[in-house]
Symmetry: C2
Subunit: 161 residues, 2 copies
DNA sequence: GTTCAGATACTCGGATAGGGACTGTCCGAGTCCTATTGG
DNA sequence: CCAATAGGACTCGGACAGTCCCTATCCGAGTATCTGAAC
């Protein structure tokens, strides 16, 4: 079970966007150059964020991506789901339908206690991710590493060259 | 992010083993036939459980697999880790090493607050899985579906033919 | 009747192909800016 | 000098290969059992 690497890229890129002036779009190429990532592939992840309503995209010169809403309303779960999709990691294949005493009309994705236990764990994971917003993470970083906002802005300004 | 299907097979097979007489080994072929699964591939998953010390394997006639220890001491996390491996789903690639103000000596898998947030979620998931034992799940099933133990034993007896 | 040796059948265990998803890349559609030209 | 227009450059968006891991399968090593004969 391995999560897509795009999740890490998306989280860091969204975090970087929180430190840039609102109303200003940043091209995918610059967001990628910030960490030395392949631009076209990061663009693919940003498209997924746009479809999820987390960022907005603007074509043409002076175009790019920017956060679609306030960082306070964007949770880490939103970003993860946008990249990884909404499905749970554990997917019940309803083995019990092949077992003894099975009822063909029962949906064992809900009745199977194994599936329920796995879903509870998945829910705990989601709850933890949903409890933290982009703004909260941003505040943590600024408290722990006060130089980060300026460093980020300066780096992006340098990429302008 | 999709979990291996072997996890579901392993969980149901371990659960079935709790209802069979202790000290009796069940061949992988019969555990597979119980749900109509490919025997050789289920065998592979059972090997992983054996390496993790969850089941013991016995070769030769009258051989097979049986639980290595009491169901009270086997958690769902033990089974999942045995199949999926110990690594977390989110793997920090230390993007910050390529960012501004990066210290080459810092291990950003621990310092990066994004990685910390993802690790907390992973920990919540693991804690939920570690909180439920095979015996607990067995008891839940017996309470909800009282016929299951007998049904299971009968089905395995029938597979003997 | 008992014991021992050989053969047999059964089981796990690891090594070997196939398929699907993630990774990475490319080019086209659309948009904004700019320079040029005519009034 | 001003305005309109044509051209150009830039950006996103989706379509196209490459690579890795999960899925599935097969055959060999090892062991308990059974059979048969000898004592």
């Amino acid at each position: 079970m391995r999560m897509s690497e795009g999740v890490e890229w998306a989280l860091h890129s969204c975090l970087n966007l929180t430190w840039l002036p609102a109303g200003q779009a940043i091209p995918a190429a610059k967001l990628a150059a910030f960490y030395g990532l392949p631009a076209a592939y990061l663009n693919k992840q940003l498209q997924a964020l746009a479809r999820a309503g987390i960022v907005t995209s603007t074509p043409g010169p002076r175009g790019g991506f920017q956060l679609a809403r306030s960082p306070e309303t964007i949770t880490l779960l939103d970003v993860v789901v946008a990249i990884e999709g909404p499905d749970e990691a554990f997917r019940c294949e309803q083995l019990l339908k092949q077992g003894p005493g099975a009822d063909p009309q029962v949906d064992y994705r809900q009745a199977c206690l194994v599936a329920q236990a796995m879903s509870r764990a998945d829910l705990a994971w989601r709850k933890e991710l949903a409890g933290q917003t982009l703004a909260g993470l941003q505040a943590q970083v600024e408290r722990r590493y006060p130089a980060t906002p300026d460093n980020t802005r300066n780096r992006f300004a340098a990429l302008r060259a």
